[in-house]
């Protein structure tokens, strides 16, 4: 047989993963219902309550956190934890659902899209949301006066990196999962402790020396440290490189394994 007739030849010129990205964008645009309002409101409330409120106490009793006001210390970690949260929320239930319950990823796999395109399309959509949310958070943090360097303009990139560092392995996990039971366990025993103990609310020096390595292996710790460095402009190049390397490695491993996992799940 000759090639396909003209009516099925590519006309729009989008690559296959971009079409999957567009699908996720449409679903979000049609169903977001107020989540954007929440994305703006939440950081305001949080920074008022914790940054200004608790910050007042800190200023009275302790003074500063390593030379910074408590608000300056806290605000960047809020951006990083939100990116982690987004990268997790978007990657577990929605992906398992699209594979197992509503089966829309199977529908996509019956079109020219390959399972790898479905994976990359999803991850790139989560990245888009991570970047967009981080832009909003950076602006809010700026309004509170907690940005002290032009490096703060890289905060959205830090947020995007943290988002995919969580999303890539978690989408992979969801693509292999048979049920959502373990997801709840993950939230209880990984997400929540990381949120509380990744030097989010006080510096890692507050821990006994023996516990510090435990904090420093938490992925979120590296995101928080990066965000803090970007907001203040104070950091050592070596430390920055290490934090970026950890998050990039999580992303790369996630992408390599996730593409394979999605193929196995959708095609067999």
């Amino acid at each position: 047989m000759s090639g396909p007739p003209a009516h099925v030849a590519p006309l729009g010129g989008w690559s296959r993963w971009q079409r999957s990205w567009w699908y996720h964008a449409v679903v979000y645009a049609q169903t977001w219902r107020g989540s954007v309002a929440g994305a703006v409101l939440f950081p305001f409330l949080f920074l008022v309550a914790m940054g200004v409120g608790v910050g007042h106490l800190v200023a009275h009793h302790v003074g500063t956190v390593g030379g910074e006001s408590y608000l300056d210390f806290l605000a960047p970690s809020l951006l990083a934890t939100t990116a982690m949260q987004l990268g997790s929320d978007e990657s577990l239930w929605p992906v398992l659902g699209a594979i197992k319950w509503v089966r829309t990823y199977h529908a996509a796999a019956a079109t020219p899209l390959e399972p790898e395109d479905v994976f990359v399309g999803k991850l790139s959509w989560v990245l888009t949301r991570g970047l967009a949310t981080s832009v909003i958070y950076t602006a809010v943090i700026g309004i509170f006066g907690a940005l002290h360097s032009w490096w703060a303009l890289t905060l959205p990139l830090v947020g995007g990196l943290v988002t995919v560092a969580f999303a890539a392995p978690l989408i992979t996990w969801a693509a292999r999962a048979q049920s959502d039971g373990p997801f709840v366990t993950y939230y209880r025993f990984a997400t929540v402790p990381m949120f509380l103990f990744s030097a989010t609310f006080y510096p890692v020096s507050a821990y006994p020396a023996a516990l510090r390595p435990l904090v420093q292996i938490a992925p979120l710790y590296h995101g928080v440290a990066l965000a803090r460095a970007a907001a203040s402009g104070h950091a050592q190049l070596g430390a920055i490189g290490a934090h970026v390397a950890v998050l990039a490695a999580m992303t790369v491993v996630g992408v390599v394994l996730g593409r394979r996992a999605m193929r196995r799940r959708l095609v067999d």
Binding site: P4, L11, R19, Y23, Q30, A110, T111, L113, E114
Partner: protein, 321 residues
């Protein structure tokens, strides 16, 4: 296999096609040829290997063995290209429930990289074709099962496929909804679309399929036109007898020797849990003879043989249990 469409190009050719899942063999080396413009059926009970076959023919699942070409192309290496020319109606609707009918079609059109203006135009035409034009802006969640099925068919047509693959297209639909789906499929066939259908409904296979294969335990146990299969594997007519007293019980029937007596009257006797089937050439004559032999069923029915009888003959089982 059959004389029909012999001159047409083969669009799907399978030789020794096999699918394994670990130790389990779902499809055991089947040979199938589907020609352009025909309507081809895979008939069999649940678990016969129909869906596994369909997923391979859809260029989604990779064959574990044997040869398969679709449009003359190898699905192992040319999957996206092949799938661009197929429409697939899966067993479950897999629609985006929170989106409108229109957006469901738009998303799919974009999967095929069609320009949005073209998608809009086809959406209009397709929704009219499946009688959903007035529901274009309804959420899929609010549609009935029959409407969702029709939307899934419309979605599969957004790329104007050369082959439409339907896995159990009318399972779970009420009779009116089934007939509407069948009618739309006839029209597509008249327009030259090749249809590949799986079903466990005999009437569906007889209505829709030019040729079909009967599958059981991953193999093809018979192939031909519906008429050929009935001629080869069943008699012209069937007498169905029901016994609603204790005597209707299978064992009493056997003990009473009535099966043996009925066996003298028919070419073949099938005893099912709820009825006894006599395979005969002339049903009315045999029914009189049954009464003449002093056997009094609670009810009796003479009908033409169907694919159901073929399946029972070939596998010893009914299709819908």
């Amino acid at each position: 296999m059959s004389e029909r469409g012999e001159g047409e190009a083969a669009v799907v050719v399978a030789r020794g096609l096999t699918k394994r899942f670990g130790d389990f063999v779902a499809v055991r080396g089947i040979d199938v040829t589907v020609r352009a413009g025909e309507s081809f059926g895979f008939l069999g009970p649940n678990g016969a290997g129909k869906t596994s076959t369909m997923r391979m023919v859809s260029a989604v699942s990779r064959p574990s063995g044997g040869e398969l070409t679709i449009f003359g192309l190898d699905p192992r290496t040319r999957g996206p290209e092949i799938r661009a020319r197929l429409g697939v109606v899966p067993q479950e609707d897999t629609l985006e429930l929170e989106l409108s009918v229109r957006w469901n079609l738009e998303i799919f059109g974009r999967y095929f990289d069609l320009p949005r203006a073209l998608i809009r135009q086809r959406t209009q035409d397709l929704l009219e074709f499946v009688q959903l034009a007035d529901r274009a802006d309804s959420r899929v969640d609010d549609l009935s099962g029959g409407m969702r099925r029709r939307l899934t068919i419309a979605r599969a047509l957004i790329n104007q496929p050369e082959i439409l693959i339907l896995d159990e297209p009318t399972t779970g639909l009420d009779p009116q909804a089934r007939h509407l789906v069948w009618d739309r499929l006839y029209r597509l066939k008249r327009e030259g679309v090749t249809l590949i259908i799986t079903t466990h409904y005999m009437d569906e296979a007889e209505q829709l399929c030019d040729r079909l294969v009967v599958m059981d335990h991953g193999t093809i146990v018979a192939a031909g036109t519906p008429r050929e299969l009935i001629d080869a594997h069943a008699t012209r007519e069937v007498v169905e007898l029901r016994f609603d007293d204790d005597e209707g019980d299978l064992n009493t029937l056997r003990d009473g020797g009535r099966v043996a007596r009925l066996g003298d009257l028919a070419e073949r006797v099938e005893v099912l849990p709820d009825r006894v089937l006599l395979y005969v050439d002339d049903g009315d004559v045999v029914l009189s003879a049954v009464h003449g032999a002093g056997i009094v069923p609670a009810s009796a029915l003479v009908r033409r043989s169907s694919l159901e009888d073929v399946f029972l003959r070939l596998t010893g089982r009914t299709l819908v249990e």
